[in-house]
Symmetry: C2
Subunit: 183 residues, 2 copies
DNA sequence: ACTCACATGTAAAGAGTTACATGATTTT
DNA sequence: AAAATCATGTAACTCTTTACATGTGAGT
């Protein structure tokens, strides 16, 4: 399941331009999949070459032409096959937690700053997901959308609470160590 | 913060072979950083070339020679610098959640299977973290270890609970859609 | 003045994964 | 008999990230 297939997946929901797809990613699944233009545009070009999507070019006033892609029936079939063969991985790569792991090697204030920054990011993501709070009604035949949104909300809330409750303690411990080293 | 720097980080805690480092990764930070031999061994070779680690070769009976690495003072300094310059990213890439997002395109039993598999994996990871339940006492000058372990336990528990409480609903919704399509 | 939204793309570099290659010992 | 543990490494492949390249219009 790479960016190419995910684009195909988005196109099963609605027609879209590369730009739209990026937006869609950012809103709906930023918390579990990230993709930039550098991978989306080449993916769409390839899908087109393979006949899995069609493309209508639309001229615009004072703006570059829009390329609206739609999925073909071959594309839909390919996506379904890909889904069935996808290994259900779930990988986290957190430089933030690496930093927390080695917090004892950082200035205590830096630790505090990192934690509050991370909390802010989480709040931003939670705000983004809030826009999907009506997913159950808006997408009655896509129950997975509400499911993943609620999953994301649950995870983000749990992480946020953890940092709020234990972040201070970590900073305190690091400070204490600092003083010991200094003495 | 790449595998190279993380290896350096592990070596600030204790001397280790490439094999040991992999073990260490698996136990202590599997929930937020993954690395295989294919990235660890080349990383150690480079660190050695750069003088950031030293290496003692130890012959063994009936087993290949062991290469035990230790960090040098230059290595320690390099790691501290790297830490201070590390962007606190936290990225999730979940094919599992992609599958859940598109659950309506999968056979309902498949959805159920995916969820229970994922829950089992989580249980395994929780078991792994349990071995670190005494981290606060075992590593009194590394408070970040207990912090990240508890963070991981919190996240895994929250995810597990979510799947337990809502996984069935998703499967039910998908089943209902299936019948509608069939009719 | 500056930043955000709209809109598409390329190219090089960087990083990690997977598969390959080898092989004895211990546990199940 | 099979699987896991111990132990090291290479090479090709795949994929993504980052930086570059260009430009208008609207809002603050």
């Amino acid at each position: 399941m790479d960016v190419k297939h995910l684009c195909l997946g988005v196109l099963t929901i609605k027609d879209a331009t590369g730009y739209d797809i990026k937006k869609f990613f950012e809103r709906g699944f930023r918390h579990f999949f990230v993709a930039g233009y550098g991978s989306i545009y080449p993916a769409l070009a390839e899908l087109h070459k393979e006949g899995l999507v069609e493309c209508r070019e639309m001229a615009q006033d004072k703006l570059p032409d829009k390329k609206v892609y739609s999925i073909t029936s071959a594309g839909r079939a390919a996506f379904e096959t890909a889904l069935l063969g996808t290994e259900p991985r779930h990988k986290v790569r957190s430089e933030f937690l690496v930093l927390m792991y080695f917090a004892h090697m950082l200035p205590p204030e830096h630790v505090g700053l990192l934690i509050s920054k991370r909390m802010q990011e989480m709040e931003k993501m939670l705000d983004g997901l809030e826009q999907y709070s009506d997913a159950r009604e808006s997408f009655p035949d896509h129950p997975g959308i509400a499911f993943t949104v609620e999953f994301g909300q649950t995870m983000l809330a749990a992480a946020h609470t953890f940092l709020k409750e234990h972040g201070g303690d970590l900073q305190t411990s690091v400070s204490a160590l600092d003083h010991k080293v200094a003495s």
